[in-house]
Amino acid sequence: MRALVNQRFVTLAILAVVIAVLPLAFPSSYYFRVASLVWVSALAAIGLNILMGQAGQVSLGHAAFFGIGAYAVAIGPTHLGIPPWAALLFGALLSGVLAYLVGRPILRLKGHYLAIATLGLGVLVALVITTESRWTGGPDGMPVERLTLFGWRVSGSYTWYWVTGGLLLIGTWIALNLDETPTGRAFRALHDSEVAAQVVGVDVARFKLQAFVIAAIYASLAGSALAFMNGFINPDQAGFLHSVELVTIVVLGGLGSVVGSIVGAAVLVTLPQALTVFQEYEHLLLGLIIIVAMIFMRNGIVPSLSNLLLRRARS
């Protein structure tokens, strides 16, 4: 048990050091921006990983909650006069409630049926955002008022690097802690075998629903953070391709691995930026890298590499 506590602490400490030291290597504010994007995507992915990796449920519509968080902080202050920070909380609440209401019937479904139900939810939310242009600005998107906390106006890629980095640390800390609570253990039991979990008395439906709500709130907060950071938001953030990107991050990094989600986000966010050098070959290479990575590291980057290291250490 003590080893576990230490391991968690070490993971968090390493992450904190990485976030703190990374800027020393950044030559321009562009790098701060890309890194902030990684932190935001990682935050959403960590939440989704609780649902996918620990509770074993696939969501193909997770960008819907990301979109709700983002549009809450855009619409709240602009149309309803709610202060930005309250809009952020309201978005998270809305996402959580929606996940709860929709999750109750959806989570009875298994495997690919759950995937299509969440996919449907994602399409519906994206469609509403694209269509109700009076509120959302339609396909062109809408500007987002800057976040002000106690008179401090949060803006600039440098500031946002630290804010998103801090958010990621908190999100990671909660996810790591969850792992060792009864809830976390119930999630893992679900992932291994639903029937076995049920037999030993885990309330399967309730825990799946909990994981779904937690994942939705993570995504919503990440969405709000991105909207504040960019000062602008468009419907692509709530779209199907973004949902697919989030799932890809989770699986590429490693199902069930918190660190994996961060690594997965780092790979999938920075890769397209790096590949722009190859111009029209960008998508070709991105697809190729995903295929090759999944074939040779089928459990995801982090679990595969740590297995390899463990085996090396033992022999």
Partner: protein, 290 residues
């Protein structure tokens, strides 16, 4: 009445394309358990290769054959170089691999062809035919007829040939199929090739109506997947019915209620169906063995 008929026929036409995509999903899913998200890219390849082959001077039927052959080749390569090496990986890993393949194929198409929209001439002219007051494009009949031929052909193949029965046996139980001497790897390759051919045919038939470009695959894969799930994943009849139903829902929803929310009706109905019948319309109730 004329209006109703108009919506009915346009719904069936779009639905036929969804049905073909869903059929492709089903074929691969049954043989290998893989949900192939690159299915829409086969449709794109069918349309794009035909456009460029006919622009290069080939007559349309020959260009269509070239397109089907190209799609089949790519389907087989997808199986050989991406799915086969990852044999035994979890379902979700395989899904991500097909998503990667879909991004890759889109990237290749954007380089080999271009990023423009392309059109094929209708096979038998553009003069609308009057059906009880509804004006119907002749190409609609090609789509519906072509779909019927593909479905019938697949039915005859599966039910009345030895190879087809081997496919069904593999779908029912892969291990048992291997035990009675069926080479399941070959069957899986066959499923990928056949599924690619079906997708390409759908692309060729519908391009004169809807145009095509390098990125039409994503939306089609999404709709085809939805159709397959609506009918009950793994059931070919369900895939066809699900596809047609999805097309009709969209057409009538757009016609009578709101055209901006046409995709919403389809997915709303899917959600309701899944809540009421979690296995889809024609799905078997699967009892899990522990």
């Amino acid at each position: 009445m004329a209006e109703f008929l108009q919506f009915l026929i346009s719904g069936l036409t779009v639905g036929a394309v969804y049905a073909l995509v869903a059929l492709g999903f089903t074929l691969i899913y049954n043989a290998s358990g893989v949900v192939n998200f690159a299915q829409g890219e086969f449709v794109m390849l069918g349309g794009m290769v035909t456009v460029f082959a006919s622009a290069a001077g080939l007559p349309l039927p020959l260009a269509a054959l070239v397109a089907i052959a190209a799609a089949v080749a790519i389907g087989l390569m997808l199986h050989r170089f991406a799915i086969e090496p990852a044999r035994g990986a979890s379902a979700v890993t395989l899904i991500i691999i097909t998503i990667g393949a879909s991004i890759l194929l889109r990237g290749v198409a954007a380089i080999v062809f271009d990023k423009q929209f392309h059109k094929l001439p209708a096979f038998t002219g553009d003069t609308p035919v009057d059906v009880l007051g509804a004006a119907v494009q002749p190409q609609s009949f090609w789509v519906l007829g072509g779909t019927a031929v593909v479905v019938l052909g697949l039915y005859v193949f599966l039910e009345h040939t030895l190879l087809g029965k081997a496919v069904l046996a593999t779908a029912a139980n892969r291990l048992a199929a291997r035990l009675v001497g069926i080479n399941t790897t070959t069957i899986m390759a066959l499923a990928f090739g056949g599924s690619a051919a079906i997708g390409a045919i759908a692309g060729i038939l519908v391009t004169p109506i809807t145009l095509t470009s390098y990125d039409v695959g994503t939306l089609l894969a999404l709709k085809g997947f939805a159709a397959a799930m609506l009918g009950g994943m793994g059931n070919p009849v369900g895939a066809v019915v699900g596809g047609l139903l999805l097309g009709l829902l969209e057409a009538f929803g757009a016609g009578y209620l709101s055209s901006t929310y046409k995709d919403a009706f389809a997915f709303l109905v899917i959600l309701i169906v899944l809540f009421a019948a979690p296995q889809g319309l024609f799905g078997r109730r699967v009892v899990e063995r522990v």
